[in-house]
């Protein structure tokens, strides 16, 4: 379970995350939906211990990320938009490096790897050097190395960005599988269909704040719209600030 309470982060005069509170329930898929620059990535990086928290708190399975960063890192697997791999090493070696850093036993990591290889159809690329890998292939390596320790919580930041249809579909299947294994999955996106198709709960973030949260149906009901896209526009600040703009003009 991922719990975030009144999380705040400021870069200079910009309030990137301005008091965000939400929960990612165990065995469920939670989607963070928001326009570019809404603060999704910053919030995820704070939960992932990569950025210091200004105020508020985040915890993974009850482990406070600020006080026990290593504990939090063990409890979750995080895929950010940095998906760089070591190009002179094979996909398997890239993944094994992370398994060793995490102290996962070789036999166990091989077993986990075999499962992912099957799910993500990586047989052909596994023992190839990653030089010249496509975006989709690199994403597969990045996601497996992030999850090689079989964490109970999975956080994916815009995982389908730049991927083709086949890779996107493979990823979607993976997310569903993780959920059926009882893992907590949280992912951010600005693609409505994706979020609507996968998520049990959707959190709409805009201008660093949570503007609405609930299931697809609840969000449509709340906004009085009959599709998620219209609901999203109605519920995120974007339309309101546009209106405010009009008034000023």
């Amino acid at each position: 379970m991922i719990e975030v309470k009144d999380l705040r982060k400021q870069f200079g005069s910009v309030k990137a995350v301005d008091g965000v509170t939400f929960t990612g329930k165990s065995g469920a898929i939670t989607g963070l939906l928001g326009p570019n620059g809404a603060g999704k990535t910053t919030a995820i990086r704070m939960i992932g211990t990569l950025i210091a928290i200004d105020s508020g708190a985040a915890s993974i399975d009850g482990i406070d990320v600020a006080t026990d960063a290593d504990g939090a890192r063990c409890a979750c697997g995080l895929l950010t938009d940095s998906r760089g791999v070591y190009t002179r090493m094979t996909a398997r070696e890239n993944i094994r490096y992370y398994a060793e850093l995490r102290g996962v036993e070789a036999a166990r990591s091989e077993k986990t790897l075999a499962r992912f290889v099957d799910w993500l159809d990586m047989k052909d690329i596994l023992d190839r050097r990653t030089e010249g890998f496509s975006q989709g292939e690199r994403m597969k390596v990045a996601i497996v190395r992030a999850l090689i320790h079989e964490p109970a919580n999975v956080i994916l930041d815009e995982p389908t960005n730049g991927l083709d249809v086949m890779s996107t579909r493979a990823l979607r299947e993976l997310i569903k599988r993780l959920k059926s294994d009882g893992q907590t999955v949280m992912f951010s996106s600005h693609v409505m269909q994706e979020v609507a198709a996968l998520c049990d709960e959707i959190i709409i973030i805009s201008h660093g704040r949570v503007t609405a949260q609930g299931t697809t149906e609840q969000l449509m009901e709340m906004s009085g719209k009959n599709n998620l896209e219209d609901a999203f526009i109605a519920l995120s600040d974007v339309s309101q600030s546009a209106d405010a703009h009009k008034e000023v003009a």
Partner: protein, 391 residues
Amino acid sequence: MWATIVTVCTKELTDHLRDRRTAAMIFFLSIAMGPLLLIGLTQFISSVEKKAEAREVFVEGKANSPQIVNFFARQDVTIKDPKPDFRELIKSGKHDPVLVIPKTFEEKFQTGTAEVELVFDDTRQDAGNASIGVLRRLMRGFNGEVSTQRLIARGVSPQLVRVVDVQDVNLGTAAQRAAGLLFIIPWITLLGCVSGVTAIAIDVTAGERERGSLEPLLMNPVSRAGLTTGKWLAVAIYGLTVAALTMCGFALTLNFVPLPNLASVLSISAAQYLGFAITMFSFAPAMGALQMLIATYGRTYKEAQTYVSYLIMAVSMAPAIGMLAQFKDATWQLFVPMLGQLMVITRILRGETVTAMHYLLPFALNTAISVIAVLLISKLLTKEKIIFGRA
């Protein structure tokens, strides 16, 4: 922590050694450095010696003084005619010094003091200038002979004008004289230790940032200090390899290649090799750490390369500054990286006493540099600007 260090170090070494071209180039240059330098130095020294011993001098206007020609011939010196435009050629370093005997020489020689000109360019450091000494000595000899004859002809004892007889007593050993040139050996080998690890030092720091692999790496539940130490260890091992290969190159060349001019001055004992090695082995890892620290600020490999090049420039300039400022061997130099190592290795090559202090001070300093650099890099890896600042 130890497991992290070993994992990171093993990965970085494997990863970097797979860049075959870079690694092969660096290792080849390291091992080739000794032979290239030593053979080059031998060639240079022997050409200097040849010129100094050469019984050949250039004289312009030898028809103007049969006496000088006669004297040179009796000294077994062959006189050669200079090229017509020798003054220009000397300026451009393409001609040896020339003795010019003017047309008026004979007339003045009979009546009083005659003049000759010695044409050379002292801004040129090449071997040709060795023959200036030969020409000067010859003319001094000629002067002495003629004046002695003239004094005797007038019934005066030549002893009268020889109040002081100056005799040359050179206290410098052959080794010390050669060491004047031998500074090139420590300079180039130490520079090799620095530039040999640049590629890997940048690869493990700025390379991670450019690739976008730093952020996921830092998501692993391992300490920054462990990661950095592992990376530094890989760089240090690489640097030690470069230093060891360089040493091997020197040892093999000195023992198996006939170097007639250097063999006498460069007879390095096992103990001296050890001293040489200790100095280089403590230097290379510290320079690796320093380059890693600088490269961490680079968002890309290229940017880091620019930053690191300033360090390499400073290191390569150190001996030149030392020479210009005419530093005498002093303890304070041991506290300056590069200058200290240069001093110690030069002392070893000159066969001068090297004490424990000469090894311990630089070793302590280099260890401190490595530790501080590793700690600073670990600290930098918590900074958002470094982790996310991508080009």
